[in-house]
């Protein structure tokens, strides 16, 4: 459906997108993840033919976004990051204008506008002037605009920005529903959003693709060693060798005491083993009081953090 090959976009000499390749097939909801300035928006602007790429190609259904841009633009619905709208028009006037430019046939126009307004929940505000709507409502108008011509591909740049928690849940629900028949690329830097809506995550950093896969796959791929946090009280809880005798535990470390007399021990577990029953038995044998035991697995958040941390060597090189 969407094929991106070695895409590069330079602003002057500064690379914004520096050789990204991936392809998206029909029905996928791709979450485009990256810190600010990673190149998410720029990539989207190239896909939607707003910017020409410096090098590389983007094709949609086999059509190049530079050479066949009129055709590819017909297939795309785009919600830009800033959600630009004509503030002096009413919602209906605005959507009619989009319908005019998109050349939606006259007989289908009213029905289509009505459907989109119902879908995005702005049907009771069609007569309102856009400039008087709240940010959340405007965002819905933007979404209605992007979907008005029933495009095969939806490119949404930060679709849930500025929405309240309830609206975010609604929009995510909408995106999930849309993803069944359309191909979606949405950018975000809100991690729970990706886990909640996307069936594929692409993380980019400094214009380069650093990870690509389903949220589960990424978790698996970048999973470090699991860690168990243990909060115990009793005689001898500070003898760390006792913990190391449990099979599956590689390292034990005493952390700062969170409360008086309660020790916080961090245990590093070797991959694929679960020493929790052993720990429990140890506590029982020694007569310790177990306050808390929790196992942490690398969250998507940690993976994101790990992958997008600025490489100090790069910073030095840049400064020089």
């Amino acid at each position: 459906m969407i094929e991106i090959k070695d895409l590069r976009k330079y602003y002057g000499r500064l690379p914004a997108v520096d050789g990204i390749s991936f392809s998206v097939s029909k029905g996928e909801i791709v979450g485009f993840l990256g810190p600010n300035g990673a190149g998410k928006t720029t990539s989207m602007k190239v896909i939607t033919s707003y910017y020409p790429p410096t090098a590389g190609t983007v094709t949609i259904e086999g059509l190049d976004v530079v050479e066949n841009s009129l055709e590819t633009r017909k297939r795309i619905g785009y919600l830009p990051e800033s959600n630009p709208l004509y503030h002096d028009l009413t919602v209906y006037e605005y959507l009619s204008l989009i319908a005019d430019i998109r050349q939606i046939p006259q007989d289908r126009r009213r029905k289509r506008i009505k459907e989109m307004c119902e879908l995005t929940g702005i049907i009771d505000r069609v007569g309102s002037v856009i400039g008087e709507l709240s940010k959340g409502l405007r965002q819905r108008v933007g979404l209605a605009q992007a979907m008005l011509h029933d495009p095969k591909v939806l490119i949404l740049d930060e679709p849930t920005i500025g929405l309240d928690p309830n609206q975010i849940i609604e929009i995510r629900e909408l995106i999930r529903r849309l993803g069944k028949e359309k191909t979606l690329i949405l950018s975000t830097h809100i991690l729970p959003e990706v886990q909640a809506t996307c069936n594929r995550v692409i993380i980019i950093h400094r214009g380069k693709l650093v990870a690509d896969g389903t949220p589960d796959q990424l978790q698996h791929q970048f999973e470090g060693q699991p860690v168990i946090d243990l909060y115990v009280q009793g005689e001898g809880t500070d003898v760390l060798s006792a913990y190391r005798s449990i099979p599956g535990i590689e390292k034990a470390e005493q952390m700062k005491e969170p409360e008086p007399n309660i020790r916080h021990i961090r245990l590093v577990v070797s991959k694929g083993s679960d020493p929790r029953p052993g720990i429990y038995r140890l506590c029982v044998d020694k007569g310790w009081t177990l306050y808390e035991m929790s196992r942490r697995i690398q969250s998507l958040e940690n993976i994101f953090h790990q992958l997008t941390q600025v490489d100090p060597a790069l910073v030095k090189e840049h400064a020089a």
Partner: protein, 238 residues
């Protein structure tokens, strides 16, 4: 060219014009100034013609046309709606042309109001109708050229003031080139005069509609509108 795009853009612009007080203000000021020049002829000189209006308008329009056109593209750039428009399946020239037509319509409306003066003069005295019709025809062409230059200026900057000044300077220079004969020797001056908007207007206003003058204006319009659509397509602005 896709007429559906042109029409959609044109309708939207016309709606926007009259949704804000801008169009009314520009039209009022335009009518006050032309009215004053008209009254000079008829009351002070007691002459039944529109010559002073026709003399001054090609220069006045240098200010009025950019005042109408300055927001047409700059505003879309500034608010980001240009990104929306150009990522829809439209041809840049169609967008520009729709906007040009909207600006031109507003200008033509202003000009249409001044027909009151022409009718008054025709009723009061025995003015010749030929030069008046030719004069209006010339003004439409001349205003159209300034409007197209204004669109080009507007496409070059997202700041409306910069757009206004750019268009004002370009149109202004084209307007005053007609005086080049005063300071430059004839053969060169002839050539430079030929580039002047007012020079061609004066030819038409004499009552002789020569295809050379018409072609001059049409070339200015087409050329500047094409440059404007190039500017949009390049996504590069001053």
């Amino acid at each position: 060219m896709n007429l559906a795009t042109v029409k959609a853009v044109y309708r939207k612009e016309m709606k926007s014009y009259f949704a804000s007080p801008m169009a009314y203000i520009v039209l009022c000021v335009f009518l006050i100034i032309t009215g004053w020049f008209f009254s000079l002829n008829i009351f002070k000189e007691n002459l039944a013609h529109l010559r002073s209006i026709f003399d001054i308008l090609p220069f006045l329009l240098v200010i009025f046309a950019p005042a109408i056109s300055m927001r047409l593209i700059s505003e879309e750039r500034k608010s980001g709606t240009m990104e929306l428009l150009v990522t829809m399946p439209v041809n840049e020239f169609d967008l520009i042309f729709g906007k040009f037509l909207a600006g031109f319509t507003l200008f033509a409306e202003g000009l249409a109001f001044t027909l009151v003066y022409a009718i008054t003069i025709l009723l009061l005295g025995n003015a010749e109708i030929g030069p008046i019709i030719a004069g209006y025809f010339g003004l439409l062409l001349c205003g159209g050229a300034y409007m197209a230059i204004g669109i080009m200026g507007s496409s070059l900057s997202e700041n409306q003031i910069v757009a206004f000044i750019l268009s004002f300077l370009i149109s202004g220079v084209l307007a005053i080139l007609v005086f080049s004969a005063m300071i430059i020797p004839p053969p060169v001056a002839d050539f430079i005069q030929y580039l002047s908007t007012t020079y061609h207007f004066q030819n038409i206003a004499r009552g002789v509609i020569d295809s050379r003058d018409v072609i001059y204006y049409l070339s200015v319009i087409v050329l500047t509108l094409m440059l404007a659509s190039r500017a949009i397509a390049q996504r590069k602005f001053l």
